[in-house]
């Protein structure tokens, strides 16, 4: 019997995905394509044309292909078929969907990273609208949310999503697998304008060095110029102890995140609501990040139904000094954004300071003061940042200075 390549998902509850299997044949059967699709009337012809295109591209002449489609978008069908083909055929060739022009942006090292939304890397139905919920970043996850048997096919899907799904200006992040397995992920994401790579279970500088080498190699091969930022995730006692060294190990590291599920397991304890077991680790991360001038980012909050508890958790996180948190459901985004945002009294204070700062600048004064009180430069910096956040979150008009004077 010939080898059969399969990829994708089918069955009850599966939407916007497809399951494709392919069997090459030595007999002159041509293409025998069996298509079951919810959208057959509307897209049957175009799905079959796409499949034939791809078979021709891989110079396949005789094959049985069966597709069970539940409304998969073309980039998904392409990923599923390519993954299936590569199980039965040795080929380095990639069949790539269009790279949307609007996906070519790069991101700044110190942009806001209040919220980043995790998207399981092998679940296409969650990808297409993710950016509409306006998290600061989306994470296409190749690690824990993808079953070991699905790791290979998820890489094709994540690659195609980076090219063909519009994430509407979110920072485009990928969580790769743990180093060294994660090194294999790099060539699927770096050539396709990933903005930031999350490095799970990071505990040593060596891992970062090894990863950067691979990234540089792939960047050179594919002619990528944009920065690829790194966010190591600290998830073990060793990682916590090495946090500062890790934070300083590359100029591309913009943040450290903490992963509390694995960390508490490593400590041999359980995650509790009061989180006293992780207090040391969290403050250690915050201090390491501040010392290295990068962003400290907190773990995720796992009860997606409890918005009040989430809000409390975010405020606690903010008070410890964190600059952001992970989201596992879009509903969490607005709560996290609002909670990290400055409140009204913060904004009013910041406005006064910024106005005084502008006035001092206009007069050529080196010292900023309000009345008789001198304002230190770090306070000014914090105020400017608070104003920037407030404008971004629609809490303050972009023209507030003009409006203030009127």
């Amino acid at each position: 019997m010939n080898k059969i390549g399969t990829s994708g998902n089918t069955g009850k509850g599966v939407r916007s995905d497809c399951f494709i299997s392919i069997e090459l044949s030595s007999k002159p059967i041509g293409f025998v394509i069996e298509l079951k699709s919810k959208v057959k009337v509307l897209y049957g012809d175009s799905i079959i044309a796409l499949i034939k295109d791809m078979l021709n591209y891989y110079k396949i002449e005789n094959a049985n292909v069966s597709v069970e489609d539940s409304g998969a978008l073309p980039y998904v069908i392409m990923a599923r078929l390519e993954s299936s083909i590569k199980q039965v055929l040795d080929s380095e060739k990639e069949f790539l969907p269009d790279f949307l022009d609007q996906n070519r942006y790069s991101t700044d090292r110190d942009r806001f990273r209040f919220s980043r939304l995790y998207l399981p890397g092998n679940s296409p139905n969650l990808m297409i609208n993710a950016g509409l919920h306006k998290p600061d970043g989306i994470i296409l996850d190749l690690e824990d949310s993808v079953a070991p048997s699905k790791k290979a096919e998820a890489r094709f899907l994540v690659r195609n999503a980076l090219r063909n799904v519009d994430f509407y200006g979110c920072e485009r992040m990928v969580r790769i697998n743990q180093i060294p397995q994660g090194l294999e992920d790099i060539k699927y994401v770096v050539p396709h304008n990933v903005n930031l790579i999350l490095v799970p279970k990071c505990e040593s500088v060596d891992q970062i060095v090894e990863l950067e080498k691979e990234i540089e190699k792939v960047k050179k091969q594919s002619g990528v110029k944009n920065n690829v930022w790194l966010m190591p995730i600290i998830e073990s006692a060793l990682g916590v102890i090495n946090a500062y060294q890790i934070a300083k190990s590359s100029k591309n590291i913009v943040a450290l995140a903490i992963g509390l599920e694995d960390y508490t397991a490593d400590l041999g304890t359980k995650r509790t609501e009061e989180a006293s077991e992780s207090f040391f680790a969290r403050t250690q991360i915050v201090n390491a990040c501040r010392a290295a001038d990068i962003q400290p980012i907190d773990s995720v909050f796992s009860d997606v139904g409890d918005m009040d508890a989430l809000r409390e958790s975010v405020l606690n996180s903010k008070s410890l000094g964190f600059d952001g948190m992970g989201c596992i459901h879009p509903r969490q985004i607005s709560v996290i954004q609002e909670s990290f945002a400055p409140d009204k009294s913060d904004i009013d204070k910041a406005k006064k300071i910024v106005l005084a700062f502008n006035e001092a600048k206009a007069k050529g004064l080196g010292v900023v003061s309000i009345g008789s009180k001198m304002i230190d430069p770090p306070v000014v910096k914090r105020a400017l940042r608070a104003i920037e956040i407030a404008i971004k979150l629609d809490l303050l008009s972009e023209n507030w200075i003009k409006e203030e004077i009127v």
Binding site: S16, K38, V41, D45, S46, I128, D394
Partner: protein
């Protein structure tokens, strides 16, 4: 008989005769004025009814026989028992056992539980359905298996058709959760309580014969009289008229889908910025996931602004009741009641009234409530770039839904349709909808997750939203965005054979549904 087709005001080819009855092509919104008198059933005489007021007959079969059940009759039912209805199927089982043929089933809506009707369509007991066809019944009709042409009407259009004599009901069978032996009945009490019975008004006013079927008989008098016993011929008591958990849901919950919540939030923000949310405003939002969430956002906005809505038309749910009981809504005018909390509220709250379709939707009357509503939220399967809406067929041509109150509701001051730009690769905004259920001039705003399109006719709304940060876009642009993601869909494979016609609120023919190949 040779059937002729003419182009109606929307350019759709429609038959001039349906099932042997002359039909008028759609002429435009508020263009066709019907002449003549409303229909009236025969004069009845109290001498022919029991002096003691006891109209109870032993079985539904005996009541149907007494009503003279015979070939070709029109049998009407209401849908207040929703997917828990045990009565409609039973009527046709009896008819089938009696060898009756060619009945017309005239329900106010059908549900998945009515799939059993297919057996009686197959064996000739029923010749066609005039009403709504959901799921399996719609599929059956789409495949051309119904003997005569189905007729789809809105809720208001159904009342209009009864009242105008377009449909003459021979026997109305009214499932009633509580009744007295005289036939006064309501839906408020009893094991099968469903709230109001407002969809059955036209049925008992105009049918030649009216049968009440109840599983909760109480001594005369039954109050409130949602059905007035003076119209009723007989009362039948059975063990069970419905399955309670399928009649009303124990509790209705708003959607947890982030995509739908986003639509709801955008819709509420639109209404707020357009100045619609103000003291004394009125609204209607159905019981669908997105609509419910919009109601909840309205509630939140009113709370923030310390304002009250004057009235809301239900489909009522616990969320509307919360709004009423917290004082942010003064009146619920309720034509159907979706959950137990709403049934409770209709019983207990003096500001929660049951109303009929005649009140809120009938076009052939001295006004109705739809044109008074400040904002009305609707759904659709497809919208085209002319803002025409389709709610009955899917893009593959299959008839899968009824019109409901959609056509009637479109007359509101601001009709908003929040819909995803595509569903599982199927784009919702198209060059032309498969079936036109309502003309674009009545649809004011389309809200999708990727942008909001305002009907160019609504210059006032466009003006108000000029400074909005919401993504206001031309509808053509939305269509293109959807097709860029999904690909351009092929056209449905349809024959020329008409399997159903869609009536407008005034009884004219707005479009047809073709057989699927």
């Amino acid at each position: 008989m040779k059937n002729e087709f003419v182009k109606n005001a929307l350019g759709k080819s429609v038959p001039t005769e349906i099932n042997g009855q002359a039909a008028i092509p759609y002429m435009g919104v508020n263009k066709y004025e019907a002449k003549g008198n409303v229909y009236a059933p025969k004069i009845k005489c109290a001498a022919n009814y029991p002096k003691d007021g006891n109209k109870i007959l032993p079985t539904l079969k005996s009541a149907l026989l007494k009503a003279g059940l015979s070939n070709g009759m029109v049998i009407s039912t209401h849908h207040h028992l929703r997917d828990g209805d045990l009565v409609a199927n039973e009527i046709f089982k009896i008819a089938s056992d009696l060898g009756i043929k060619d009945l017309v089933w005239f329900p106010s809506a059908s549900f998945p539980c009515h799939e059993a009707i297919i057996e009686y369509l197959d064996n000739g007991t029923i010749s066609r359905i005039e009403g709504s066809m959901n799921g399996a019944l719609g599929r059956y009709c789409s495949e051309g298996k119904m003997k005569t042409t189905a007729v789809l009407r809105s809720h208001g259009g159904r009342y209009q058709a009864i009242q105008d004599g377009e449909v003459k009901i021979d026997i109305a069978v009214i499932a009633a959760p509580t009744s007295d032996p005289f036939g006064n009945a309501n839906g408020l009490y009893g094991p099968s309580a469903c709230g109001g019975l407002g969809y059955a008004l036209g049925d008992y006013q105009y049918a030649e014969n009216v049968i009440i079927v109840t599983d909760n008989i109480i001594p005369f008098p039954c109050f409130p009289m949602q059905v007035v016993g003076n119209f009723v011929d007989s009362v039948v008591v059975v063990d069970k008229i419905g399955i309670p958990e399928k009649i009303v849901s124990g509790t209705t919950n708003i959607t947890k889908s982030p995509d739908r919540l986003l639509l709801a939030q955008m819709t509420a923000q639109f209404c707020d910025e357009a100045g619609i949310i103000k003291d004394g405003f009125s609204f209607q939002a159905g019981a669908g996931g997105t609509s419910l969430a919009i109601g909840v956002y309205f509630h939140k906005l009113l709370k923030e602004k310390k304002m009250k809505a004057r009235f809301a038309v239900g489909g009522s749910t616990k969320y509307m009741v919360q709004m009423l009981e917290e004082g942010y809504l003064e009146y619920i005018l309720d034509a159907q009641t979706f959950d137990l909390e709403a049934v409770r509220s209709m019983r207990d709250n003096k500001n929660h009234f049951d109303i009929s379709i005649f009140n809120c939707y009938n076009y052939h009357s001295k006004g109705n409530y739809t044109t008074m509503m400040d904002v009305l939220i609707l759904g659709a399967t497809e919208i085209d770039t002319k803002f025409n809406g389709n709610v009955v067929t899917h893009s593959d041509g299959y008839l899968l839904h009824g019109i409901g109150g959609w056509q009637n509701c479109a007359f509101s001051k601001c009709t908003i349709i929040p819909i995803p730009l595509f569903r599982d690769r199927i784009p919702v905004i198209k060059d032309d909808v498969t079936t036109i259920c309502g003309p674009g001039e009545l649809v004011d705003v389309i809200v999708t997750e990727r942008g909001i399109a305002i009907n160019p006719l609504r210059e006032d709304l466009i003006d108000k939203m000029k400074k909005s940060k919401l993504p206001i876009k031309p509808i053509e642009q939305l269509k293109e965005e959807g097709e860029k993601i999904c690909g351009k869909p092929a056209k449905a494979n349809l024959s020329d054979e008409v399997v159903a016609v869609v009536k407008w609120v005034d009884g004219t023919v707005i479009d047809t549904v073709k057989k699927v190949l």
